[in-house]
Assembly symmetry: C2
């Protein structure tokens, strides 16, 4: 026995959400049906609008329902720095750290021959166009420290080699609050290779 | 900085799902927008239909978009036994165990003065009516072994006391595959109090 066809269809449809297996999908469907029809209706209508209306920022490719995202349309951002990230979530994480006041370019993925994702899918042409049109001095490659992310960064380094600008990447090393014991060997060897001197009184004075 | 207004609205709307906090809601929204618009659209339309069309079985009160659920409309179920459960999910769990071939009555909750849930919300009148109309010999109270579930069962025991039928509850004890070490004291004392003799050769022979 199962639930009635429409309820089974709802449980099935909920499985399109990441991290939702059969048991959670059942729990979600029954929760909405038993206790929160209003929430379910609201979710349905917002979902329909979002799936239809959300597109990409014309300038940086992040997800937005507007023509230009807030960062690209803001006059207050530093136009001389451009940070390249893989996803809108990465962009949000950097924004939330509050450390960066420049602009972004969102690849919406990384190079992955296996999945058939090549340079044309990641908007490299648009990126080069922006570097021609805008007064950018430095490109920060903030792709993920994974095989695909690093490959993508390396490709970009070569692509941008001839241009009159500095290309940098985020520092690798031990994350704050991490315990050495639990940090993987790759990170440790990067942290060793990139070790820094302590700032002594003399250094900071002079 | 946040995402654009419509994306923020979607993240907020996803939080109506049980077990979904701000981080998961963000992950779900971005997943649908970046990778599965079709799934999102399908979810939106199924949700809208389910929230509008799913009601309750006229006979047993379980969730269904039909007038009568499949069990109530089946001619093959034993009409002499009626099992009372709290939720449609409990009913499904019993069905999946394959141990029961009678019919059900779904309370859709349990007595809870604090939440303002009284006998009238749990369909006790409909239950009594069914017991008058149908040839039921035994009512199995399969409410949850929680304070509220047991209180509800106790209330029903008193309500059904005058009727010419047997009222039973599921056995309490040690779950199969459980290790004594990890079983709570309440369950252990119930299992002690209800201990059973081993079936010896002689017993089973006759």
């Amino acid at each position: 026995m199962q639930f009635s066809p429409l309820i089974e269809e709802l449980i099935q449809a909920l499985r399109c959400l990441p991290g939702v297996g059969p048991k959670s999908a059942q729990r979600m469907a029954l929760h909405l049906l038993e206790r929160d029809r209003q929430g379910g209706q609201r979710l349905s209508s917002v979902l329909a609008r979002a799936m239809e209306q959300v597109g990409h920022c014309k300038n940086c490719r992040t997800l937005t329902e507007e023509d230009l995202c807030r960062i690209c349309s803001s006059g207050r951002r530093n136009q001389n720095v451009l940070c390249v990230v893989e996803t809108p979530a990465d962009m949000l994480a950097l924004e939330q750290s509050g450390v960066y006041d420049g602009r972004y370019f969102v690849l919406l993925g990384h190079l992955s021959p296996l999945e058939g994702i090549g340079p044309e899918d990641l908007g490299f042409d648009e990126l080069l166009q922006r570097l021609k049109d805008e007064p950018v001095d430095e490109v920060i490659l903030a792709t993920n420290p994974t095989l695909e992310g690093e490959t993508t960064a390396q490709y970009l380094v070569e692509l941008l080699a001839g241009l009159p600008l500095k290309v940098t990447h985020l520092a690798h090393g031990i994350p704050l609050g991490g315990e050495l014991e639990f940090i993987d060997g790759g990170t440790l060897s990067r942290a060793f290779a990139g070790r820094l001197g302590f700032a002594t009184r003399k250094d900071s004075d002079g």
